[in-house]
Symmetry: C2
Subunit: 158 residues, 2 copies
Amino acid sequence: MKMEIERKFLVSGDGWRAAAGAGQSCEQGYISAAGSGATVRVRRIGEKGFLTLKGASEGIARPECEYEIPVDEADYMLEKFCEGRTVSKTRYVIQSAGMVWEIDEFSGENRGLVLAEIELEAENQAFEKPAWLGEEVSGDPRYYNAALAVNSYSKWGI
Amino acid sequence: MKMEIERKFLVSGDGWRAAAGAGQSCEQGYISAAGSGATVRVRRIGEKGFLTLKGASEGIARPECEYEIPVDEADYMLEKFCEGRTVSKTRYVIQSAGMVWEIDEFSGENRGLVLAEIELEAENQAFEKPAWLGEEVSGDPRYYNAALAVNSYSKWGI
């Protein structure tokens, strides 16, 4: 178990694309819904599968246990255990000013949404904001991937 | 992913104890509740931890994915992710007529309940019933461990 400390931002414009390599296709789904003891996520990214359990957030920190699993089992669970609770996206990784940014460009029902995440060692850790970084949405539960899986961006009426 | 085919019985009397070795202490809890895509169970048995996902039953067969995890992470999840949804039992393994029986003697809120399970290769596989075997309860959802975790045997009013 580790504490994941993460900040999340909207992305402004396409300036990030020049620094992004080839993205990896990522399909993820949610097995347990709100009201249970933890969020249970299954993810297929590229040719790898992962099962991840996340507890309740405390500020921007969140307990997380992650396990790599056989990719065919991830696919099975996405199909059988996550019906109607999946998101599809392409994940790009960008190095900027010594930090690693993960940019998620959503597709399907969340098409049009691009989010940038940075993982920190401490909640108050300083970092340089790239020019393409937009508004922070760390505290907005609508942008949780688990929320986007059931209330997709295209339905927000923005 | 495998299909688990299992039959479950009450246990009659103490005749099984002579053939049972030392049991292993087993604590298990449920992260996801009914209504989600799968049952997510975390188990500590002896000094090992496991995370297990089970889909919907089809007769006595049930899809199951199981992963061994670090025991300290199992303990963490039992404490943080399974509040109010745990069962404690001692598990004994008995060989009988070429088959392996798992006998669960429950404790805590389920004290007094003893169940025997046998895992089969096929739904119609024949096996010899030991003398101590009682009524079959395979189809009775009250005896699911996930159900016993929230509606314990001591509250049934039997």
